[in-house]
């Protein structure tokens, strides 16, 4: 019996870098796309948009609406690709975990496989942060076409702030000119005092989960000028084991103290001076996106940090409509005072998805897949799909377009999204990020929950991160 065992690699991923023919596909081909549930729910419109964007009629698209539990899907792809499965041909991959697939050499190198004009378009026109997460940190080659980015923003209740004396002029300013956390805390405090019946001030997510390490904490930290691995421009995606670990630096500690102040007020031993306290419920320590959104949507919170999907919900006419305000995430220190590039100032953690190609698919299918990718890259398609499914166009310039502005609800908040997109900070995805992420989440959460001092938590974190770095 001979098996793939022992050195155990399973499927041979040959040809991840062989060029794919861009010739017209003559016969009928069905391309299977591993998508998500939203794509599945809107599959008719999605396919129509593709064909409207120039996908030949002889290419049929079949959508597998994969699970939205992102870990599960990552695992699924992992098995499919290492098992050498030929289907699906196209796979939607989270920008948070595309890089490990690249590192494993499991997906098609598009720089090699696609015509260079396509690759250039992506590199030049797309949101930079997004593109970075679809490239090999080593070679810089492109492995995925960003499908849509996702940036969190701060949502607020204009009606409640008005009670506290703020007005449209303030709102308009905040829309593009981000405020500092200091001011944010004062605004929130004031609004809470003016609206005694509202139970929560500022709601966000600080449960022990990937969302804390990739996003919420990352934003607090980066906006204070801190970073996980020193200079993000250089070290975000490696080299593993050779980059500094900087989680115990002052800006990082300050960001933790700030959050502790938000939750516990100044009586916390590790509070940060100058900030208003008690503006966030301790429940945030257990909240992920949906639980944190519920009180806000239910009318029981003033400020809420979340992804664009929730803007669509909260901005709906039967919820808050025009009373929903959106602004970029506040900053801790201005960019100028920050130690590292890409830090300080307003930040937004980067989410979003890419489209990648299964290298094991037969040539014909890949050939057809290229046609699909081409359609996906059409601006028209991106705007269509923004309207249909709310996928934010991956090109910043499209956010200025009129067509985008006409999209219901979210069309009202494009400037804010654009600011967020331009200040987006990707999580430091490497092959060891999953291990590091859970350590970060648990240490940060423990410290937020006053179980550890910020210093203690971060030095513990530093040593685990170091071990992980060194193991790889």
């Amino acid at each position: 019996v001979s098996t793939g065992g022992g050195g155990g690699g399973g499927g041979g991923n040959t040809g991840t870098s062989t060029p794919i023919s861009t010739k017209e596909v003559t016969e009928d081909v069905t391309v299977q796309i591993a998508g998500d549930t939203r794509m599945g729910d809107n599959s008719k419109a999605f396919k129509k948009a593709l064909h409207d964007a120039g996908l030949p009629d002889n290419i049929t698209v079949e959508i597998i609406a994969g699970s939205q539990v992102t870990n599960n899907r990552q695992n699924q792809y992992q098995q499919w690709l290492s098992g050498g499965r030929k289907e699906p041909t196209l796979m939607m991959m989270d920008s948070g975990w595309t890089i490990p697939f690249i590192a494993r050499n499991q997906i098609q190198n598009l720089t090699d496989a696609l015509p260079s004009d396509m690759v250039n378009t992506v590199e030049n026109e797309y949101f930079q942060a997004s593109v970075q997460t679809a490239k090999s940190p080593d070679s810089g080659d492109l492995y995925g076409i960003p499908l849509f980015p996702d940036f969190p923003t701060m949502q607020y209740r204009k009606d409640l702030l008005r009670n506290a004396g703020y007005s449209d002029s303030d709102f308009n300013k905040w829309a593009t000119e981000s405020m500092s956390w200091k001011e944010f805390s004062k605004v929130t405090k004031k609004a809470m005092e003016a609206n005694q019946d509202i139970g929560n001030g500022y709601t966000f997510q600080a449960s022990v989960y990937e969302g804390l390490s990739c996003c919420d904490f990352n934003e607090f930290m980066t906006s204070h000028g801190g970073a996980y691995f020193g200079n993000p421009e250089k070290n975000l995606f490696g080299p593993i084991g050779e980059r500094p670990i900087t989680v115990d630096e002052q800006p990082v500690l300050d960001s933790i103290k700030m959050v502790r102040t938000f939750i516990n007020g100044s009586k916390d031993k590790h509070s940060l001076d100058g900030y208003e306290g008690n503006i966030a419920p301790s429940a945030v320590l257990q909240w992920t996106e949906e639980p944190s959104r519920k009180p806000f949507t239910g009318g029981d919170a003033i400020m809420h940090r979340n992804w664009p999907y929730s803007i669509t919900i909260n901005g709906a006419e039967d919820v808050f409509g025009k009373d929903l305000g959106v602004m970029p995430i506040p900053y801790g220190v201005p960019e100028s005072e920050a130690q590292y590039p890409m830090t300080g100032g307003p930040v937004a953690a980067l989410g979003g998805w890419h489209m990648t190609v299964n290298p094991n698919s037969p040539g014909k299918k890949k050939q057809a897949a290229v046609k699909v990718l081409q359609a996906l890259m059409q601006e028209q398609f991106q705007l269509d799909i923004f309207g249909i499914m709310g996928w934010i166009p991956p090109r910043p310039k499209l956010l200025d377009s009129d067509k985008a502005k006409q999209v219901e609800v979210i069309g009202r908040y494009l400037p804010q999204l654009k600011v967020a997109g331009e200040n987006a900070i990707p999580r430091p995805v490497t092959v060891v990020w999953p291990q590091q992420s859970s350590k970060i989440a648990s240490e940060v959460n423990a410290s937020y929950a006053q179980e550890k001092s910020p210093e203690q938590a971060m030095s513990d974190l530093k040593s685990s991160l170091k071990q992980i770095e060194q193991s790889a």
């Binding site: 022992g6 257990q286 009180p295 291990q435 859970s438």
Partner: protein, 319 residues
Amino acid sequence: MESLSETAYAYLLLAPALLLLLVIAVYPLIQTFGYSLFADQLTGSSRLGEFVGLQNYVALLTGARNFALPSNFLPNLTSQFPFIKNVYSSALMVTLIFTGFSVLFETLVGFAQALVLDQDFRGRRWVRVAIIIPWAVPIVIQGMIFYLMFQPNIGFLVGTPQDPAFLNQIGPLSISYTPLRNTADSLFLIIIADVWKTSAFMALLILAGLQSIDRSLYNVARVSGATKWQQFKMITFPLILPTVLVAMLFRTIAAMRVYGIIETMAGCTTVPSLSCLVVTTFNNSLYATSATVAFITAVLIGIVVSVYIVKFADAEGGF
């Protein structure tokens, strides 16, 4: 075929089951054991790195591999009492605590439920379905129910400091306002969720055991002067003991492998169990570590359940 010797006949009848188990269970385990002898490999196209022999086992048992796991594997032992520092910080202790309490309560509750179901009363078929039905709930949903119940600002079982709920106010037993981020509280709630669902498993098996007892033995016992309690103690209990032991045995094994309810309620980082380590490392593509943890877990389970096996051998009179 029947003129075969008893041994040959036995093996003949076992053949289909053994064949299935060999191909579907034993073969993969051998392979997986093979994986555990290689290094992890995170880059490049092969799943595993070079051959390292038993190094993975050594690394795991000495704690040198803890960084790759969501939590420590074995507890930190100290020379002072209590010998285990911070009981919740290791997967082994969390798993043992979960197993001990959940199996204990499931057995008690399941037993009581089975005794109720064993009675004759109107509408018992509906009561029976009601009691058994939690077992039919997918873990994802079970997790969702309890997650939401204990989610501040959503569920009513946990309040806020301004507006505490009942469970926040019961003295030493009270739970915190964010119970699902706290290992002790989460473990407690997960045990409750598990007892809710899995008592039905116990109840079903014990009920079946109760139903198989020859009723005439009770007549003898009653005439001999046995009270209800004595009938239970001397007839019912010994006769269903094998069934109860089988139920407890498999519950213990399942509890030692708990994962789903943890993942859906509190997450593996908050409540690390042995299986959490296996699954997390597996999902993180640390296949060798995952295989190693799986094998050590199996050995630990084997040690824990050997208690039952000894009991079972007694109760069955030769095993």
